[in-house]
Subunit: 497 residues, 2 copies
Amino acid sequence: MFDSANLDHVVDKATWKKEEPVLREALLKAQLDLAAQKRFPVLVLVGGVEGAGKGEAVNKLLEWFDPRAVHVHAFGEPTDEERERPAMWRFWRGLPPRGRVGVFFGAWHTQPIVNRALGRTTEDGFENAIGDIVRFERMLADEGVLLLKFWFHLTRKQQKRRFKDLSSDPRTAWRVTDLEWKYHRSYDDFVPTAEQFLQRTSTGDAPWFVIPGADEHYRNLLFGKTLLASMQERLAQGAPPVPVDRTPAFPEPVDAVNVINTIDLKKKLSKAKFEKELEHWQGRLALLSRHKRFKKTSVVLVFEGADAAGKGGAIRRITGALDARVYQGIPVAAPTEEERAQPYLWRFWRHMPGRGRFVMFDRSWYGRLLVERVEGFCSESDWMRGYSEIVDFEQQMVDHGYIILKFWLQISQKEQLRRFKERERTAWKRFKITPEDWRNREKWDAYQGAVCDMIDRTSTDAAPWKVIAAEDKNLARVTILKTLVEAIEARLDLSKG
Amino acid sequence: MFDSANLDHVVDKATWKKEEPVLREALLKAQLDLAAQKRFPVLVLVGGVEGAGKGEAVNKLLEWFDPRAVHVHAFGEPTDEERERPAMWRFWRGLPPRGRVGVFFGAWHTQPIVNRALGRTTEDGFENAIGDIVRFERMLADEGVLLLKFWFHLTRKQQKRRFKDLSSDPRTAWRVTDLEWKYHRSYDDFVPTAEQFLQRTSTGDAPWFVIPGADEHYRNLLFGKTLLASMQERLAQGAPPVPVDRTPAFPEPVDAVNVINTIDLKKKLSKAKFEKELEHWQGRLALLSRHKRFKKTSVVLVFEGADAAGKGGAIRRITGALDARVYQGIPVAAPTEEERAQPYLWRFWRHMPGRGRFVMFDRSWYGRLLVERVEGFCSESDWMRGYSEIVDFEQQMVDHGYIILKFWLQISQKEQLRRFKERERTAWKRFKITPEDWRNREKWDAYQGAVCDMIDRTSTDAAPWKVIAAEDKNLARVTILKTLVEAIEARLDLSKG
């Protein structure tokens, strides 16, 4: 990767003076077109060796662009808030919306390279991290993000010279500390690891661009021109890049037996028993939420089910046991304008809980595999890739130590009708029933098929789907509470308590 | 993945008798349409637990289809020929061409699952293998292959019952050996590993389909209908799936300094010195090729360079030192009809050498990054993904123990003109110069830029590019021989010899 960059590249001052204003004007125009089109975001990743001028190049960029519309994020040590959430959360929250440019200093590439160079990870672990990154970046590309990855390079000699030059000038000497020299001494561990990383993570969708950093003018021109070429090419495409459908097709079911219609909907819980059980499980949950060890974990609950299946009621029986300061309920409806300007999962990532907290999603990211699939709100390619993207997403929660449970509340079509009618009769429930509910009902079979595919393809040991018989609300509410309590107790090693 | 498959699915005989003929007719029609369109191949992967009816289902398929146009490959223990080549070679050679259906029993998924279930690989190693497979299958999808992956499933109980049933019938008892019961005992190790594998390798392009195997009719109907649905969907698309261009753009060079024009073309080797050196290095090469330890490795050499750069001459100086039985020279020109019907790298995979052998490619897979890019013979997406696909391809050779060297023969534009003219003047060289050579010459700068990108992005420690000053043919030939000899000596640990 560094063959070209190891050569001496120089741009003289006259050339720079001639070319910079042209580049600057073109970049500003591209930025304005980007903002006007609002079709895609540009995400600029900046990495490289110390002293190669990453900061200077980004400063230049902010001179060239209208800086008010550029979001720059430097990712150093994670903050407390970031440490409490899956590692990728800090990057998700910084993603630029469509029409904007975002610059990430030291993003998801930093840790895998550093850990490998210092021998903290094995070769297999390194490859593994690379695989995660390739999948993540592919998802960004599928979501329309123009991802431009820049690696600022210096040869060993150039780095030494650079540090010496900086040290000898009193105005810049502060920039070269023991840490910089430590980096220099580890050059021969770091750079070959980085090279391997760059090669393995350079895909057609997101290749790395290596920027030689020794000559200021060459560096800035190459950086700016590379950014410009890619922005101009994408802007000229006009239409959004529609993914080609090359996915296999799911067949119609061969029989009527499936994972949601084979559960027993006839069982009931009497009111007296319900009240006793409810009190019992709510009491256990309340204690658990105050347990010392609970402070180290977090709970993510997903509730999905047909309209009127009782998602809200089940959630209220959980929150009823909790202090309002430890939970957040997220009702998921149509995305906001801000959310629509981001990759699909962004609107869910923003709600990832800190330690010792619960988040309940009343409908969730599974909308992509249910309503968006059935109603055709996204392309077949989009929902087909959704299965593995969601498995990846939840795996990140699991790896971070979250407890995650997903409840599918199953009711019969007949019971749904009864509840719809009841809602229409009851003044204070009437707002809950809309023409859309009736329309969705007509697609009952299509939805049920999509639910089965969803459960088959996204239920994992660590983030399982629990199919709940919800025909009887009391039974459903108690079952859910019990499942939740037992999952937390198992995690906190209190199962015998 | 097995939630639905763990349920009892049954299709009664009446339904089967009614539905099978309809399915059969539709499948046969799809096969004929596939052959008529010749736009894409269908590759059916078959995996699953023992006793789940994989063989029976494929036999059924051969009844339904015209079996003459279906290629079935069962991958058991590798043959001698296969063991001498990178692991994926056996699968590449079996790929069906466009317009055909291929069936693979036990393909690239088998080893990773078995090795993990038996504890032969770590979790990281398993994930790593999964990453390789996902990249490989994505490449197949990018190349237009319709990949349909079927996993035949039985519950533990169903498997036991199945083995007992087979054992108790004298006509089938032979099918259940100790090995089958051994598999049954390891069910609880194997199936969860397989489930994890299926989930991690189910992508939008190539999801797994789980086929419950307990009921023969259900199994066969679901298998056939799934295959049919995907074939029909793709056939109905009509036009080939053109990949959307969402790749970043490579910028124009900022200066005139690059990895091929900075080498010294002025050095020469006198005729006398050349003859002495040639004899020396050819002699060492001849001995090496007969060395005992050489029998365990293989050499792949790639020669690229502008027209008349001297590729053929350099190759002849190598082959001159070798026994004709140990090498093969592959001149690469436009692909044949058979080669055009396959994924891009297929035509190169077919020439991978066995142990103790040399293969010299006179032009190579790098055509995708050079002529195909510059002349627009493939889309930008195609050549952009080529960099990482080629790095993956060569990594497989390296992992298998091949010695791989890639020579770029650099000459000046002036020297090329001199050689062209010389060729035109010499009767026995005239056939080597065509109008195309003159046309390529006009795109000199574009080609040189593509060469630099190629070297930067595909030169690795284990499969390096060697830029050879080829202005003087004698010097080039000796340098190449010396580089080759030293690489083999280093590999055979003879460097001091």
